[in-house]
């Protein structure tokens, strides 16, 4: 529950992970060096910016958008991204699109399923009991805690992630962005917008 652990917990966890790594290295299972390299490669390869690239391409290329909505795993490979690079090779990415009628919102009620292989680890709030336990029952109330008050006429569709399927939201393209290039457009897409707790072009998150 608490992710705001202090220095003492940090030192204790650091020690424990270090000793576990040594025991695994002694047994020839995995080495400290390999873990460091894996962390470095993972942090370099993944992040919300990759999701923003996907969205910007979908906004500017209708053929890509159609392929993305039909088979996201194949479509993101066009951008050099691979859902199979994470914890399990078979994960399906499903992309859902916001429109003037529907707003999509993603959760993992069971645990923390998320397109980690592309977006990196989910934000802490996404993994919190508070978000997971309430967003299905009261999505509008939860969105208000993110400062997002949606038009009551807008339908909200909540997607519950699973061990097999992970979701990414394509937000509505902001007004006045018609002359933006892909890079400029990508800068309008925050991590929260890819989950549905923010709109594109709204800054933070």
């Amino acid at each position: 529950m608490s992710d705001d652990h202090g220095d003492e917990e940090r030192a204790e966890n650091t020690r424990r992970v270090g000793l576990l790594t040594s025991l695994l290295e002694e047994r020839g299972v995995v080495s400290e060096r390999e873990l460091d390299e894996l962390v470095e490669a993972f942090v370099a390869r993944t992040g919300p910016g990759q999701g923003a690239r996907i969205v910007a391409r979908a906004w500017t290329d209708s053929g890509f958008r159609a392929r993305l909505l039909a088979d996201a795993n194949a479509a993101v490979r066009e951008l050099g991204l691979d859902m199979a690079a994470g914890t399990a090779p078979h994960l399906r990415l499903r992309v859902v699109e916001n429109t003037s009628e529907v707003h999509n919102l993603v959760v993992c009620t069971l645990c923390s399923c998320y397109p980690v292989a592309i977006l990196g680890p989910p934000p802490t709030w996404y993994k919190s009991e508070s978000y997971r336990s309430r967003v299905v029952r009261d999505p509008r109330g939860v969105l208000e805690e993110f400062g997002l008050e949606l038009d009551p006429a807008l339908r909200i569709r909540v997607w519950d992630s699973s061990a097999e399927t992970r979701y990414l939201v394509v937000p509505v393209r902001p007004e006045g962005s018609d002359d933006h290039g892909e890079e400029e457009l990508a800068a309008l897409v925050s991590r929260n917008a890819l989950i549905g707790t923010a709109l594109a072009g709204s800054g933070a998150g």
């Binding site: 529950m1 608490s2 992710d3 652990h5 917990e9 940090r10 966890n13 650091t14 020690r15 424990r16 992970v17 270090g18 000793l19 576990l20 790594t21 040594s22 025991l23 695994l24 047994r27 299972v29 995995v30 390999e34 873990l35 460091d36 894996l38 962390v39 993972f42 942090v43 993944t46 992040g47 994470g86 914890t87 399990a88 069971l110 645990c111 923390s112 990196g120 680890p121 934000p123 802490t124 709030w125 993994k127 919190s128 009991e129 508070s130 978000y131 336990s133 309430r134 939860v142 805690e145 993110f146 061990a163 991590r191 929260n192 707790t197 933070a204 998150g205």
Partner: protein, 91 residues
Amino acid sequence: MHGFGPVQPEEDEPPFHAVWEGRVYLMAVALMRRGLFTLDELRDAIERMPPAEYLAASYYERWLAAIERLLVEKGTLAEGELDAAVEGQRR
């Protein structure tokens, strides 16, 4: 379960909040790639944590506890071996 209060988003949250968190995550990935356990087994091991421990633990502390449990159950670590190593280093 309910009563956890409002969601508290963190501005510009980094991928990991400490070096050990990234190591735990990628350790799980490496061990799964080597076939020591599957993602479903990892989640199951997290869910088998005693409820009080589960609720008191941070996210990656749960992952660490689950990895330890699975490594013991699969015979890679002896029961209590890591605790003994931690105690040994404290002394």
